[in-house]
Amino acid sequence: MTVEGMVFKIKKYALHDGPGIRTTVFFKGCPLRCWWCHNPEGQRFEPEPMALTIGGNDDAPAPEMVGRRWTVPVLAAEIEKDRLFYDESGGGVTFSGGEPLAQPEFLDALLEECRRREIHTAVDTSGYAPPEIVRSVLGKADLMLYDLKLMDDARHRQYTGVGNRQILENLEMLDGLGTKIVIRLPLVPGINDDQSQIRRMAEFVGGLENVQRIDLLPFHPVADGKYRRLKMANRMAGVKSPTRGDIEKLGASFAAAGLAVRYGG
């Protein structure tokens, strides 16, 4: 049987999801419910309607359906279209989401297919998955973009819906396997931007062998429109972006732990 997967968006000329010019494939469905989620249409595993406009008055056009099933060959052909730009820029494909590890067979088949086609792969993941899946799938990716959110397990549970023990263990395991890793840290005001969290995280990440860099991604209220179009509650409504000064201060802790830091993806 052909492996199929649910995808909600394919973004070409993605510039912030790994090296070079990339195509980012957003898997639909995620076991986490992060308060600050930028892609709320990627949370549910099934297709869902999303209004085209925010207003929602009577003459508004019918909402579009977000989410579509793709087979591996059809998706691989779509990824292949921009190969020239990957070659030109040292880019490739990034599997993001949602949570790509939540559709492990699909991800595994895609990674195999891209390897055969000599296309560079990156996986952008929360790391929340059984370790055997992480081990088998992620050993095939050229680069891991691994999200860390909070070091405190209880607070992680509060703000994402799941604990972080599995996530941290998986990261240590991957590091041991020698996978190239970039840590991505969303900086969310009032949730994970206090010094003690950051210090603990810097300590943990600083102890890993294969982390190439940490990207600090400042929270931005950009997704508010999407929440409204999906008729979902936005728990971050009204929260503003951290200032450049705030971010740089936090970044200094990581730099002090000997880590390369980048602001923005």
């Binding site: 070409k12 000329y13 510039l15 070079g20 406009t53 730009f85 429109g225």
Partner: protein, 787 residues
């Protein structure tokens, strides 16, 4: 920028375009006089040119380093009544129209009424052209099927080669004398014709030398009265330069710039060629002078930059000659399309980027002037530093420089049968037109409305706007049983109107060859002197005529919509679709929504649409390419619109792609506004599916916000996007960095801006997807020039 350049630049920006009657008056005096009564047409034209240069006012502005103005003062713009005579009503429109006005004073109106109009009425090229056009040509022209460049402007469309920088006009006169000496009256039945052409060229060459000498005299007089010792010394030096060039070949950097500038003003004084004129490969021409003087210590980088800046400002002092009517609509701008080329390859194919290339890019960034236009030629052999430098200027958001693919241009020209060395020394002029600089007359003859033909194919050749049978009866659309039959109807409309256009072109070329020779321009373009033949009569080494296709994206999307909905899916009948189009979709909103949103569109790397794109392109190419012109060359295609997509859209009703009546067409080879939703790689992949190498130029416009290019990574990745497009043989791409006004427009009409990507914070998103609050924030940021 030095204080002097700041002053010169500000004065150029402050000057308002104004009609000058000086040239029209001198020309009329000349033709009313007896001096030329028995002379041949070319000699008459040369003597008229001489008369104008001998008698026109000399303008030398305060602080100037490069001298020579077409009018009596900066931005004072002459008219060319021998080509197109403005009526008093035209003058009133020029004076009062809100966009691109030219002030007209009472004295000009009076002289026009009393002298210019009575003399030229009935003698203009424009009247001759219209008198010789067939009824069906006139009908098609009036219906907006095509436009005609030569009805208000003379043929031009060329750029200078290195000859201007290698030879003086005294050298050219010697060459002319030699050619006259070798005329073969025993065997050449056209020897007398050649003699007259060569004599005319000689008169024109002498006229320019004398005009430079008039500047030298004035400069000497100014120096004598100058109290500031430094300026006095400078004026004396400038006088010396005007004594030497353009009579002799330039020897210094300053002389090279001044020599070119006299030539430039000569071309645009002789007539009003479309496009103005253009030094072509400026960094190549100037580099030998620059290097020699830098090494000798007689020139510093700062001084070179100051001279270049002064040179730039001279271009900006010269708005395009005024256009009115349809011609005003197809190209409504002060820009006269002098396009400076930088980079590329040399005659032997080597990387041509040099130190001066970068210095000129600095000047472009600092000057930020409407004119001249500028472009970079990017070859696979050029370094990334070059393209990055250019893109950092693009980021500042004034639409320059545009980016061209040298390797494609060379192949296009070689494919047309040109020598590879000539091709490598060529480039793009005007908007995007490929040419062998200094050796080719590549005449743009008019825009061609590809999308209007969809409307005719849907209506059995009848124009629904007027009810008139305009094209051949290709059958009622309701009777077509498959898409191929419908496409064939479109193709037959195309063949019919291309025939009409080409017949007209060939008549017009003969009119210009007989009645409007250009002996001065002929001096500059090889091999007019060697052949003893005028530029307008096939004197150039290469002679090409172009018809510029407009609305490739709209045409494709309209045809695809019919294919997809009527024939492939059967979701609507042809009859119902036609009713919807006639109603401009009133009462058919749901159908329109499906046509817009549930239809393959060109620009998304979607083969379902792009396959039709290729068919449209191939049909257009087959209809035009290789058809003989009247100058010994052939017709070819290019795809560019200037502002004609707006005019052409205004004469078309609703189209099957969901476009409403009167809306602009897509421009160049860009997708329909808002139809591309998969980002820029998908756009350039789609655009590269036509064979650019068989065109003489294509224009692709991409919108970007400055924020997307905020950091060096953004610049690098945009460079890689360009390199990728060029690896696929794309001809040209330009980046319209969007301003705040456009964003406000996008808020009001999101349906037209679905392709607009903005950088939000660490990542990019579609502008129309953002909340109003965030949109406002980005508009504020953009308005304040923040990245």
């Amino acid at each position: 920028m030095t204080p002097r350049i700041q002053r010169l630049r500000q004065r150029s920006l402050d000057a308002k375009p104004k009609i000058s009657v000086e040239r029209a008056l001198l020309l009329t005096d000349f033709y009313q006089g007896t001096a030329a009564r028995n002379a041949s047409v070319p000699v008459q034209r040369a003597l008229a040119f001489k008369h104008i240069l001998e008698n026109k006012a000399i303008w030398i502005g305060e602080d100037e380093l490069i001298v020579g103005e077409r009018g009596p003062a900066p931005k004072e713009t002459p008219t060319y009544p021998e080509i197109c005579l403005h009526s008093l009503q035209d003058l009133e429109i020029l004076d009062s129209r809100p966009k691109i006005p030219y002030a007209v004073d009472d004295e000009t109106r009076r002289i026009y009424a009393e002298k210019i109009i009575p003399f030229w009425q009935g003698r203009t090229i424009r009247e001759r052209i219209f008198a010789h056009m067939t009824d069906e040509w006139i009908a098609a022209y009036e219906a907006g099927i095509f436009t005609e460049f030569q009805e208000q402007r003379s043929p031009g469309h060329t750029a200078g080669g290195d000859k201007i920088f290698r030879l003086g006009f005294a050298d050219l006169r010697l060459q002319i004398a030699e050619e006259i000496h070798e005329l073969d009256f025993f065997n050449d039945p056209d020897a007398l014709g050649r003699l007259e052409q060569l004599r005319a060229m000689d008169i024109a060459a002498e006229a320019l030398i004398n005009w430079a000498a008039r500047h030298a005299e004035r400069l000497e007089a100014m120096a004598a009265g100058e109290t500031d010792a430094r300026r006095r010394e400078e004026l004396e030096r400038m006088a010396g330069i005007c004594r030497r060039v353009p009579a002799r070949a330039p020897e210094t950097f300053h002389e090279a710039l001044q020599a070119y500038w006299f030539v430039h003003v000569g071309v645009i004084t002789e007539l009003n060629p479309w496009d103005a004129f253009n030094p072509g490969r400026l960094d190549q021409h100037l580099f030998p002078f620059y290097r020699r003087e830098i090494e000798a210590g007689t020139l510093t980088e700062e001084r070179a930059k100051e001279l270049l800046s002064a040179f730039w400002i001279k271009f900006n002092n010269h708005p395009a000659p005024p256009k009115t009517g349809v011609t005003g609509q197809e190209s409504n701008t002060y820009t006269d399309f002098a396009l400076i080329n930088l980079g590329g390859v040399d005659r032997n194919g080597g990387d041509a980027v040099n130190d001066l290339t970068y210095l000129i890019l600095d000047v472009i960034e600092e000057m930020r002037l409407l004119q001249p236009s500028s472009m970079v030629q990017v070859s696979k052999k050029n370094p990334d530093r070059f393209i990055h430098r250019a893109l950092r200027i693009v980021r500042t958001g004034f639409g320059q420089p545009s980016v061209f693919n040298t390797d494609a241009i060379v192949q296009e020209l070689v494919g047309q049968g040109k020598d590879i060395g000539d091709a490598r020394e060529g480039g793009a002029s005007g908007c995007v037109e490929a040419g062998a600089f200094g050796r080719e007359a590549y005449i743009l003859t008019g825009y061609f409305n590809l999308a209007k033909l969809v409307e005719l194919a849907l209506n059995d050749g009848r124009d629904p706007r007027t009810g008139r049978q305009l094209g051949p009866a290709t059958g009622p659309a309701e009777d077509f049983t498959d898409f191929d039959l419908f496409f064939d109807a479109w193709r037959r409309q195309l063949a019919h109107f291309i025939d009409i256009k080409i017949r007209g072109n060939n008549v017009i070329e003969q009119i210009n060859a007989r009645h409007m020779p250009v002996p001065f321009l002929s001096l500059l373009i090889d091999d007019c002197i060697a052949k003893g033949r005028d530029y307008n009569a096939g004197g150039a080494r290469y002679n090409t005529s172009y018809i510029q296709g407009v609305g490739l994206g709209s045409t494709t999307d309209a045809l695809v919509a019919v294919k997809h909905h009527v024939f492939d899916r059967g979701t609507v009948t042809m009859a119902e679709l036609k009713r919807a189009l006639e109603a401009d979709f009133a009462g058919f909103e749901d159908l329109r929504r499906r046509l817009l949103d549930d239809t393959p569109k060109y620009g998304n790397d979607d083969e379902a649409a792009d396959a039709v794109l290729r068919e449209v392109f191939e049909a257009y190419h087959a209809a035009v390419n290789g058809r003989p012109n009247a100058r010994g060359g052939v017709h070819r295609v290019n795809l560019l619109p200037t502002t004609c997509h707006v005019y052409f859209g205004s004469v078309i009703g609703a189209l099957p792609d969901g476009r409403k009546a009167g809306q602009p067409l897509s421009e160049g080879i860009s997708p329909v506004q808002g139809a591309d939703r998969n980002g820029p790689t998908a756009v350039v992949r789609s655009a590269a599916k036509i064979d650019h190498l068989r065109t003489g130029g294509t224009l692709l416009n991409q919108k970007f916000l400055p924020q997307v290019l905020a950091d060096e990574t953004g610049i690098r990745k945009l460079g890689q996007l360009v390199r990728g497009y060029f690896r696929m043989d794309g001809h040209h791409i330009q980046f319209n960095v969007v301003d705040a006004d456009t964003l406000r427009e996008a808020q009001r009409h999101p349906e037209n801006y679905r392709d607009l990507i903005v950088r939000v914070a660490g990542y990019s998103d579609y502008f129309v997807d953002l909340t109003p609050e965030l949109q406002h924030e980005i508009i504020r940021r953009t308005a304040h020039g923040e990245f």
